[in-house]
């Protein structure tokens, strides 16, 4: 653990929660700010190590080029897929009106 300035502020947690569409109560914000700070502190411990010459790890497994052949496989039955949708029209998912264009 380190004693420096806070790793993450309550405002930052609120911002990230909003981006993730999570509605947090004040008590939850308080709780998660503390918990996230502990996690960041733990990650910061790595920075105290001498990592000169160590390549960044891309993945927990040292594996590359995991590929599949470009061969079609049957997907899901449309009726089955649309049966799981809250609302359907013209064989499409019907969603509430959108505010703004796609990002």
């Amino acid at each position: 653990m380190t004693d420096g300035p806070a790793r993450i502020t309550r405002d930052e947690v609120a911002h990230v929660a909003r981006l993730a569409r999570l509605h947090l109560t004040d008590a939850e914000l308080e709780l998660f700010t503390g918990q996230l700070a502990v996690i960041l502190d733990h990650a910061a411990d790595v920075a105290t190590l001498d990592l000169e010459g160590v390549a960044p790890t891309a993945h927990a497994m040292a594996v590359t080029n995991v590929l599949r052949s470009d061969t079609p496989r049957p997907g899901l039955d449309r009726d089955e897929v649309l049966a799981a949708a809250p609302d359907v029209e013209d064989h499409r998912f019907r969603v509430p009106k959108l505010l703004g264009e796609a990002p």
């Binding site: 990230v16 981006l19 569409r21 891309a58 993945h59 497994m61 594996v63 590359t64 080029n65 995991v66 590929l67 599949r68 052949s69 470009d70 061969t71 079609p72 496989r73 997907g75 899901l76 449309r78 897929v81 649309l82 029209e89 013209d90 064989h91 499409r92 998912f93 019907r94 969603v95 509430p96 009106k97 959108l98 703004g100 264009e101 796609a102 990002p103």
Partner: protein, 479 residues
């Protein structure tokens, strides 16, 4: 309007790759299928599903990198997080800080080189339709989503801000499309959305001044729209600056019907995508052998294809200069093999080029599927004078509609017979008799007046006569 101002343009081009299946699942990559028939747990973002990368998509991305002279590098995937129903899992998998292709260039037909910053892989999103009176977002009551396109492999090609006017931007988009088609990576159909262009536009007072504030224009569905939108946007920015106002960094939407750009969102509303490494995918690391194998499959690029036709036309600059547009057209449409094959079979290159650029090009898709042997046979008949130009075009129309066939059989069915020599001689004589003044001048050496008689003969025969045979007969009469 743009006097005293200089434009700076960079283009971002998304192209859908011509694979059988999607980027991370085995669903078919097929435009125009019934909605939501090519979907599975992966591309619907259902819990527990895992992406597996399509080897063919990687190889087509490498082919694009090779064609654009890029450095092909080890690359990784990230999640780009945002909430919008065009993708079901609330993030798009894209390459971020380690793209597969970097630092390339594209040479325009006039020799100008545009730097390519990167060409990376990502997945396409589903298609949303806004329901309601307007058909557009504003005023829509709700939206409908089809996920067939969700997960279709894309490569996004980002140019440096090296382009300086609308014409150059159009030339870049046209050449890039030809390269994508020639490399087999994409069908380049802007009208079907398989190639989509966004333009970053800014203006400045001098070519040495720092770049001005730029706006990004979206929804450019044709090369023509691209040019119009850039011109409109540059004028809009210049008007603001000349009035002493500032250009705000924005994303803007091109309205083709209204002919103007409109604000989509400002920089303040820019998304915070929280990119992070996609934990379900491992890095792609192409070794030299793999890169070489991909490079070997790459066909001739458009510049090489144009050079090949120019060479066939011969060294005479007149022959080449007057036909530059025809050469560009057949190469852009991927029809140059028709010309090369016909020329190899002995058809005059100028005839093969003209029929391909003027007639076959009107239905390029059918022409690309056309049986080469039938096309060569038809042009051979025309070159030999057994069919007039008009007849040959009519037979070609049938060949294109049917995808092939025997041109001789089609010609007979249409009642096209080469005019008998006697009948041609008589018709030419009638034309000469009808135009005594023109005949006198033609006899005195005004060769261009031959057109008067050819026109009369064509009219009399409803285009069935062979123009070359008519001229030969006129020359015989002139003695």
């Amino acid at each position: 309007m743009t006097d005293g101002w200089h434009l700076v343009i960079g283009l971002e081009v998304h192209c859908e790759l011509r694979t059988e299946t999607k980027l991370f699942c085995g669903c078919r990559n097929m435009f125009g299928d019934e909605p939501n028939t090519n979907v599975c747990p992966v591309c619907l973002g259902l819990p527990g599903s895992l992406p597996v990368l399509n080897q063919r998509a990687v190889e087509l991305a490498m082919a694009i990198g090779t064609a654009l002279h890029c450095d092909i590098r080890p690359s990784t995937f990230h999640r780009k997080n945002y909430f919008y129903p065009d993708q079901a899992k609330d993030y798009q998998i894209s390459q971020y800080d380690e793209p597969i292709n970097v630092d390339g260039w594209l040479e325009l037909p006039d020799g100008f080189r545009v730097r390519i910053e990167r060409a990376h892989m990502e997945e396409d999103t589903g298609k949303t339709t806004h329901a309601g009176a307007s058909g557009r977002i504003h005023g829509a009551d709700y939206s409908l989503v089809d996920y067939n396109r969700s997960g279709v492999p894309l490569v996004e090609i980002v140019s440096a801000p090296d382009l300086r006017d609308a014409a150059q931007a159009r030339a870049y988009a046209t050449e890039l499309r030809a390269i994508l088609v020639a490399s087999g990576a994409s069908d380049g159909k802007m009208e079907e959305g398989s190639m989509r262009v966004d333009a970053n536009v800014s203006v400045r007072r001098s070519p040495d001044a720092p770049f001005g504030t730029r706006c990004e224009i979206k929804n450019l569905n044709s090369v023509r729209s691209l040019g119009r939108a850039i011109e409109y946007e540059a004028e809009r920015q210049i008007t603001l600056l000349e009035a002493g106002e500032a250009v705000e960094q924005q994303t803007r939407h091109w309205d083709e019907t209204a002919g103007r750009t409109e604000t989509l969102r400002s920089k303040e509303e820019a998304y915070d995508y929280r990119y992070f490494r996609e934990p379900d995918l491992v890095p792609v690391v192409p070794d030299p052998e793999w890169k070489a194998a991909v490079a070997d499959t790459l066909g001739l690029m458009p510049a090489q294809r144009r050079a090949r036709l120019t060479e066939l036309l011969g060294q005479g600059t007149d022959a080449v200069d007057g036909r530059r547009d025809q050469v560009a057209t057949v190469v852009d449409l991927g029809l140059d093999d028709l010309v090369v094959e016909a020329a190899a079979a002995g058809v005059p290159v100028t005839l093969a080029l003209a029929r391909t650029a003027n007639e076959a090009a009107t239905d390029a898709e059918a022409a690309r599927r056309l049986d080469l042997g039938a096309y060569v046979a038809l042009l051979t008949m025309e070159a030999a004078g057994s069919l007039s130009a008009t007849q040959s075009k009519a037979v070609l129309g049938e060949l294109l509609a049917a995808g092939g066939g025997d041109p001789a059989v089609i010609a007979r069915a249409k009642g096209f017979e080469a005019m008998s020599t006697d009948s041609l001689t008589a018709t030419v004589a009638e034309a000469v008799a009808a135009e005594p003044d023109a005949w006198a001048r033609y006899r005195d050496g005004e060769d261009k007046l031959a057109q008067v008689f050819v026109g009369r003969v064509m009219k009399a025969t409803r285009g069935q006569a062979n123009g070359k045979a008519v001229v030969a007969e006129l020359q015989r009469l002139r003695g």
